[in-house]
Symmetry: C2
Subunit: 189 residues, 2 copies
Amino acid sequence: MAGRRTDTRERIQRVALDLFVEQGYEKTSLREIAEKLGVTKAALYYHFRTKEDIVHSLIEDIGVSLDEIVEWARQQDDPVRAREEVLRRISGLIQGRFGPIMRFMQDNQPALKELHAGHVLAKRMKELFRFMGADESDPVAQLRARLALVALMVGNNPQFLDENPTAASADVALRVALELASPRPGAGT
Amino acid sequence: MAGRRTDTRERIQRVALDLFVEQGYEKTSLREIAEKLGVTKAALYYHFRTKEDIVHSLIEDIGVSLDEIVEWARQQDDPVRAREEVLRRISGLIQGRFGPIMRFMQDNQPALKELHAGHVLAKRMKELFRFMGADESDPVAQLRARLALVALMVGNNPQFLDENPTAASADVALRVALELASPRPGAGT
DNA sequence: GTCTATACTAAGATAGAC
DNA sequence: GTCTATCTTAGTATAGAC
């Protein structure tokens, strides 16, 4: 944000995100991050006030993006098309630079819940889930619509796949998601 | 297992599981568990050798159940029916006494991965996911089949719902799961 | 079977030198 | 901007009395 610059701040963010994704937020100590960077803990504290601050800087941008999507979705009046477009946009975020962060969010909610920034983010996600099912009165259809969003996350998480996520797996996930979100041709209610 | 009996051991398990589900494994300290029980930390150590041991005792039974399901599934030769039955059985576990434990597992994999018992459990789950998609050559159909399993977990997790999980939401989840796992009538490949 | 007291470790964080 | 040194707090775990 300011003027100085030696890219250390960004290196910290990169290394921290790697470790957070790999072994979880709580299991990752500042000592570990510092060692991997070849600096001391104190150096980290020059760039970030707290450990929480590092996370905050990591999820800041995606928070804004999600917010925009939620806002946009609210203003649409064709719910089916809106849902589809939401899925496409979220998929775009995942395939863009936010894939690892999304995985981090998904795997570490207990930790994130305790952090202010994480709490806000969780609320956004909850709004998104609510939006996805909002126009369905049938509970089955509602869960199906919400599951569409989950599909995108599953397609981005090696825990559920045979291999690491790729552009291909993200694409497959989007297909499944759109299918789930679209109205059933011959279904009940 | 032995003879003495003052049910303290079971009370520890109950309180620990409550706190683990509520605030996560890492965030829950032994001091906290002890306080809520009205005993001291040392008392916990009489009943369990370590914190990890408490978790181990909690997930022991469900590990056996999952193992049985995986074994059974392997021996079937009608893949469609086998998948359906797997879903029904998992749903049964969730609706039975394992609901909270399942949620705990789902929310705390980064922590569980580090524990031996959790690591074993994660492998079982991975085998289940692989089994669900094993007979599908089309990647889309494969992800759909795996998502069936996820649907059951989503139906058991308030994070994705409007309210706390109930028998009704579990039933809805099972419907959606079975639908996802059954072959498409008019689909490609 | 449970408690008091305490050891040990590692975490996050700060002060002040360079 | 990074270091050394240190503080504080909290965690898991143990020894030994009751």
